[in-house]
């Protein structure tokens, strides 16, 4: 009986403190201090929520910049985040990479394999990677330009504006948030949206 009391006592005591109190209080504090981030960093176009800032989206139309390959079903499904888990000698890995290279080359005439960054043809860890490298964006300019009628010079400037350097200038790497870049393209095409 003494055992039962001790075990129930320590469990109940710590549970009230860190099982209930901690998450609920932290939620309360976060909602006050960081209401935007705490609610999933929603990105709005007018009144409509069109994205969650850090979560990648699926763009496969010619008028948008494409993100990295995603292994989720369907692609970029945040509800079922997953990597491909393909091992280094799995022949599916090589097949996937080759077919992605082909797709890119078909959509961007004149694109050489040696211009394509490996990250644009290998799938990410979450299937939700929001970013691509600067080179990955630059090589897509011809396609986006042709599909939208926006000039190559304008798109190059747009990319420049959307490069985020390493965080605090020193950690991580330079990259471009694909959704933000595409939102800028969308706004250029729909000035009154």
């Amino acid at each position: 009986m003494k055992w039962l009391r001790s075990i129930l006592g320590v469990t109940l005591g710590t549970w009230l403190l860190v099982g209930l109190g901690y998450p609920l209080v932290m939620t309360g504090i976060s909602q006050v201090l960081f209401p935007y981030q705490a609610n999933g960093s929603p990105v709005k176009l007018g009144n409509r929520i069109v994205a969650s800032l850090h979560v990648g989206q699926y763009y496969h139309q010619p008028q948008y910049f494409w993100g990295r390959p995603s292994a989720t079903t369907p692609p970029y499904n945040p509800y079922a985040s997953t990597p491909s888990n393909l091992g280094p000698t799995n022949k599916l890995l090589l097949e996937h990479v080759k077919s992605r290279i082909k797709t890119l080359q078909r959509s961007i005439p004149g694109l050489r394999v040696s211009q394509i960054p490996i990250s644009l043809v290998e799938s990410s860890g979450s299937g939700l990677d929001p970013d691509i490298s600067v080179q990955s964006a630059l090589i897509q300019i011809p396609r986006v330009s042709r599909a939208t009628g926006l000039s190559r010079g304008f798109l190059t400037r747009l990319i420049d504006q959307h490069v985020s350097g390493p965080q605090f200038g020193v950690i991580g790497r330079s990259r471009i948030n694909v959704m933000e870049l595409n939102l800028a393209v969308y706004k250029a095409l729909h000035p009154h949206a």
């Binding site: 055992w3 006592g9 320590v10 109940l12 710590t14 403190l17 099982g19 901690y22 932290m26 976060s30 960081f34 981030q37 705490a38 609610n39 999933g40 409509r48 929520i49 069109v50 994205a51 969650s52 800032l53 850090h54 699926y58 990295r68 970029y76 499904n77 945040p78 509800y79 079922a80 985040s81 997953t82 990597p83 491909s84 888990n85 393909l86 091992g87 000698t89 890995l93 394999v113 040696s114 394509i116 960054p117 490996i118 990250s119 990410s124 860890g125 979450s126 299937g127 939700l128 990677d129 970013d131 490298s133 965080q167 020193v170 950690i171 991580g172 790497r173 990259r175 595409n182 939102l183």
Partner: protein
Amino acid sequence: MSIQTIITWVVVFAVFALTIKPLGTYIVQVFTFQPTFLDRVLGPLENGIFRLVGVDRDSTMSVKTYIMALLLTNMAWALGAYILLRIQGALPFNPQHFPDVNPLLAFNTAASFTTNTNWQAYAGGSTMSYFSQFAVLSYLQFVTPATGGAAAIAFLRMVSGKKIGNFFVDLTLMVTRLLLPLAIIVTLILVGQGVPETLAPYLHLHSIAGQAQTVPRGPIASFEAIEHLGQNGGGFTNANSANPLENPTAFSNIVEVISMGLLPVAFFYAFGVITGHKKTAWTFVGVAAVFFVGMLALIYFPEAAGNPIINALGLHTHANMVGKELRFGLGGTSIFETSTMSFTTGSVASAHDSYLPLSSLSFFLGMFLNMIFGGKGVGLLNLLMFVIITVFLMGLMVGRTPEFLGKKIETKEVTLASIAFLIHPLLILVGSAIAVSSPAGLQGIFNPGPQGLSEIIYGFSSAAANNGSAFAGLGAALPFYELAIGIVVIIGRYGSIVAMLFVGESLLNKRSVPESSGTMRTDTFLFGGILWGAIMILNALTFFPIMALGPIAEHYLMMAHHLF
């Protein structure tokens, strides 16, 4: 190697170097009941819990009672977690209306979270209600590392000649004095970086390209904080810390890395403070640090060089990016994976199954050794187990009575330490052997070739080391693995803890031998080198054959551009 990679690594090492002494000293102050700055705030709270339990702060138990209390309490949690998961559908905070968890998965999850393994045979974002996430899983991520920490504290008290203490008191103080204050700080940093912390339902949205997305939200930041501070590793969503919702920036990545290492590293120093053998403690830190840096290099350089099969295509860049996220950089990704395998956290910021074979070897090293700082306190116990075996081997070689901390190491201690050592390979090798010789086990393989064997070995190593990460191609949701892994995590967790507590008791009851010129010193560079060598040799003898069939075979086949 980019300047960003170097800075990322330097920041992480610098934080560990700066915190090891103050945090290690603080741990000893808390558990020897000296006054600390948090007394005024937390004292009354703790007294409330002690009244519920019916103990005094300075009460003590016998070793057997301490072990009983630890095991019974853990059993109660596992049972409670099992029941709550089974009736999840009827409980509050379930805006997505997830149904009850099925029996086998509930068993696997309860066992895995109670043992600090946090192996996940389910996808969090589409299985668990908010209540299950925070009131069951996040709760266990507090109390199970606290259990491991308490066992280590009990051991340290005994080897420094003190009474063992009271399990319920130690458990409570682990939660209130170490984990909770740090978790509050880490949660707020993570929310600031963009990790959600809300009770609102998942976000439904339509992108400008017309894609419908359901973005999971919930109390993710508070979950992430304790997931890493307690070396737990159970993710809120399936992709774990690769998911931008759990790890949105390069900085959040560094914060999670540091969170994993703070306490395990500090425990090494706490050992020195409480026993009065600080130089020995630094020797141990050195041995573990050499392993850590070695692992980091063994992960970074193969990945930077990339997969020769893919690189033959002649793309613009060469690093292996399969299963990796762009924002952390290769430097940030590799120190995250080194940390999660050293500190036995088991969270991942990339897909381990897609790493190159030499990097995989590094993952295996972390799980086999299980003492490269290891889980908070538990890693220290594993190291001390190797120390006892090493001291014994040295004694045999030079013909002297082995001693450690002024106590003779005799048959009983060596036997117990050997048992603690052997449980680990036994679980891994026998478990893998059963899996590869049964259709039910083979069914779980995802990648063909040697990588498939590695997936199985990884699964059992992760379970036995209470790590929890996976070569996630493996079909962990198959009944065979739910059951087998569930059993292995339990034996792996409690077998060595119990054996080491008996070692502690046996040392406590021995007379101290005064130091003389004949004493073998354990605080020298020489001893550090021998300890490092002994750990390597013992593990190589145990695991080399199976590694030759897995990652090493895979490496040579990959170099020959062989596909499966």
